[in-house]
């Protein structure tokens, strides 16, 4: 075979329905025209980076320093890491220095670097479900095993389930909050319980890391504050990117923040230095490192996202759909009116030209994901379609 058996299998695992869905989507877009289609299937924000960022980028390029585009140390520019450490110290109240920051090719790159550095074959990583499907691939890349743990009805962590899933092989738990696909923000209490559980394990001699995927950390609503995991537990690695908060998804810029309470910092950084090199990233893109350093305190309009969340949630409620109101990110994860969500998603697509992703793509059948990082007009434009579909499934029979 031209490609490896393993790759063939991986591709097959994700294909089938995604491919069919995708092709059907293209067909519908061609048939009805883009304007008549409501594509809520992709987490590719339509937002533009802040205007101040665009200006800073032009300024930077207009007075170039010699060596701006060369290799730098694998963990990134020292001054950029210093700026980020200053910001994180302020936010988390823990003593970050430049040495605790490691610039990466986005969040996906950062997670791969961490997992490559930490995992031995057979090591287990606990992932609460529903979950972002790529996590499984990232863990699998390095011979790790993903242990899925169901969350509660409201998509909050179920500490009992997590405790039951811990084995001698457990190396880490991967927490994504605000969450893709549910938009849930894990609350302070559940995280404290998690820290308590892991501290007990630690006393028994097993060190389990919390890896937090904080890609959506600035996208939180209702004036809530994201709980400070660094203050709750020592062994924390936070991975983040500026794909969403600065709308730089295509530029691939992010970083890992290593808790100052991790004792083996030098060893971990050495391992990550080798990992980022041998995985072929080498370093985070030079130009956008410099941008990221200057824009830690900036973000796209969160109020805009919150308005979209409110608008979409209101539509879903009006339509009679059942949905946990999300407090962050730009996803909603309603229950499918019928158990076979694949069937429902197909109907939504064919009858109403509304495109969403079936829950089984996130390890939870019977639900579906709506990504609402779209212009408000699109969200409002889809209202009638949602209402009709609500009528059909919830009131039609009555």
């Amino acid at each position: 075979m031209i490609i490896s058996h393993e790759m063939d299998q991986l591709i097959k695992d994700q294909e089938g329905w995604t491919r069919r869905m995708f092709e059907e989507g293209i067909r519908i877009k061609k048939l009805y025209g883009l304007d008549a289609v409501y594509d809520f299937s992709l987490g590719n924000p339509d937002t533009e980076p802040p205007e101040t960022l665009r200006k800073a980028l032009i300024d930077m390029l207009s007075s170039p320093e010699i060596g701006t585009h060369r290799y730098m140390s694998n963990n990134g520019y020292e001054d950029v890491r210093q700026d980020i450490a200053d910001y994180l110290r302020e936010v988390h109240g823990v003593p970050f220095t430049a040495g605790h920051i490691f610039m990466t090719v986005g969040c996906a790159g950062g997670l791969n670097v961490i997992l490559k550095s930490m995992l031995n074959p057979g090591d287990e990583v606990i992932v609460p479900t529903p979950f972002f499907w790529e996590f499984k691939n990232y863990i699998n890349n390095f011979g790790g095993v993903t242990r899925f743990v169901e969350t509660k009805e409201d998509f909050q962590l179920d500490i009992g389930n997590i405790e039951a899933a811990i084995t001698k092989q457990t190396k880490a738990i991967l927490i994504n909050s605000p969450n893709n696909p549910t938009g849930a923000v894990y609350n302070e209490e559940s995280l404290r319980q998690l820290a308590g559980l892991l501290n007990t394990k630690r006393e028994q001699g097993q060190e389990i890391y919390i890896i937090t995927d904080d890609a959506y950390k600035k996208l939180v609503y209702d004036n809530i504050k994201l709980p400070n995991v660094f203050k709750m537990y020592d062994l924390v690695l936070s991975v983040t990117s500026h794909s969403k908060d600065l709308a730089l998804a295509g530029e691939r810029i992010g970083y890992v923040a290593i808790s100052p309470n991790i004792k083996d910092l030098d060893l971990l950084v050495s391992a990550m230095t080798i990992s980022i090199r041998v995985l072929g990233f080498v370093n985070a893109p030079a130009l956008f490192q410099r941008v990221a350093g200057k824009f830690q305190r900036t973000s796209v309009s969160i109020a805009d996202y919150e308005k979209k969340r409110d608008a979409l949630y209101a539509i879903l409620m009006e339509a009679g759909l059942e949905c946990v109101k999300p407090q962050g990110a730009f996803y909603m994860f309603p229950k499918s009116p019928i158990p076979d969500e694949l069937e429902f998603v197909r109907t939504l697509q064919q009858e109403e030209r509304i495109m969403v992703v079936p829950g089984r793509g996130f390890g939870r059948a019977g639900y579906f994901r709506i990504a609402y990082c779209l212009p408000m007009e699109k969200i409002l434009g889809a209202r009638e379609g949602f209402l009709r579909i609500g009528d059909r499934y919830y009131r039609g029979g009555k």
């Binding site: 031209i2 790759m7 063939d8 339509d46 980076p49 072929g280 893109p285």
Partner: protein, 387 residues
């Protein structure tokens, strides 16, 4: 981690010396980090792109990269190779290192073997082992050209690919058309027996080539060729991580390979090559930094080495030169050079003890000023031999 710890030790040794004697008195030939700046017109284009008010300049695009960018690169490849490349055969990557990882992830099953001519760029070993592959090193000839018989002897049922890096790091050798034809013939024999072996061409240095030498185009010599390249060296954009994979249009069932590379690009965490640099490099396929400048440096360092009594193959490309160590213990010799303020990397770091590597992508005056120090080391060794 243990495999690369000594390179780090060398690096740290160098840093100490720089502190002690001042940076200007240390001649650092240890790093392949070119000091060359991108062409001026590229910098202007970068400003133009960054100033654009078009929507969506920084969003995700398809994992393989922008259609129009791949289209332009395909045009360039059609022009230079005569092969019918289309945008579908191109996948934009996070540099050549990213591209190689994507290719290996796509084709290797655990235990599959990849032949690598030796000396070799040590990172290749990791790129292969990352994805469960086994590297099979094959010695090259005395002039660092391919030894086809040895390659033939190294092929097993598990051989999935041979990795060809030309112009070559660390030797600067450019493989000639004849030896590559022989290689192609050898591999074709295997494919006629049902075993497909890829040639993976790492062409990161393809434009840095001297005296009018022409780089033979592997895709024209062999069907199952995957070319990986980047713009770190030819456009001076190393830190920006931009390159691409070009899959030969003659690969049978190339579509499944294309799909696998796009998928691997995603799950390895690259997702896509950096957006802004994709747009810029598309327009600069026909440009490069000043190659004459590198050639002058090549001539200068070669002369310095020969005058000082070193035995060395004159490189035809890249910006490396790989002289023989005057004593068998290259690590010891590199340490001796350190005492004379010259930083190099021992051949053992490239799988070839008894040699050492100089990266001459430095300012010309570093080369010129290093001359007396090389002579000093040369003298020392001659005297040593006489004693």
């Amino acid at each position: 981690m243990k495999n690369s710890s000594w390179i780090r030790a060398m690096f740290e040794e160098g840093e100490k010396l720089k502190k002690k004697h001042g940076v200007e008195n240390i001649f650092d030939f240890s790093l392949g980090n070119p000091i060359t700046e991108p062409p001026e017109i590229l910098k202007e284009e970068l400003i133009r792109v960054a100033s654009s008010h078009a929507q969506g300049m920084h969003r995700y695009m398809t994992n393989s990269g922008y259609d129009d960018v791949r289209e332009e690169i395909a045009h360039y490849l059609v022009e230079t190779t005569g092969l019918p490349y289309s945008k579908d055969h191109i996948v934009m990557t996070v540099g050549a290192a990213g591209g190689l990882n994507v290719v290996f992830k796509s084709i290797l099953d655990p235990g599959d073997e990849v032949i690598v001519p030796c000396p070799f760029f040590v990172e290749f070993m990791f790129y292969i082992s990352n994805h469960g592959g086994a590297m099979k090193l094959v010695d090259t000839k005395d002039d660092f050209h391919l030894d086809i018989d040895k390659i033939k002897a190294a092929i097993t049922k598990k051989t999935k690919a041979i990795l060809i890096n030309s112009p070559h790091n660390p030797t600067g050798v450019v493989y000639n058309e004849e030896e590559l034809r022989e290689l192609a013939a050898l591999l074709r024999e295997r494919s006629q027996k049902g075993q497909r072996i890829y040639i993976i061409a790492d062409e990161a240095y393809r434009k840095i080539i001297y005296n009018g030498t022409r780089l033979p185009n592997l895709a024209n010599l062999y069907e199952d060729t995957v070319t990986v390249t980047c713009h770190s060296k030819d456009l001076g954009l190393a830190g920006e991580r931009i390159g691409y994979i070009a899959m030969s249009p003659h690969i049978k069932n190339v579509r499944s390979l294309i799909d696998a590379t796009i998928f691997a690009n995603r799950i390895l965490g690259f997702i896509n090559a950096p957006a802004i640099m994709q747009r810029v490099v598309a327009k600069f396929q026909r440009n490069s930094v000043d190659i004459m400048d590198y050639q002058k440096k090549r001539d200068a360092i070669y002369n310095v080495l020969v005058e000082s009594g070193f035995e060395v193959v004159k490189p035809q490309g890249a910006f490396y030169i790989f002289p023989k160590s005057p004593i068998p213990d290259d690590v010891q010799f590199v340490k001796t050079m350190l005492q004379h303020h010259i930083l190099t990397v021992p051949g053992v770091g490239f799988g070839k003890p008894g040699y050492f590597r100089l990266a001459y992508c430095v300012n010309m005056d570093v080369i010129e000023k290093s001359r007396p120090y090389f002579k000093e080391v040369g003298e020392l060794l001659r005297n040593g031999r006489e004693q």
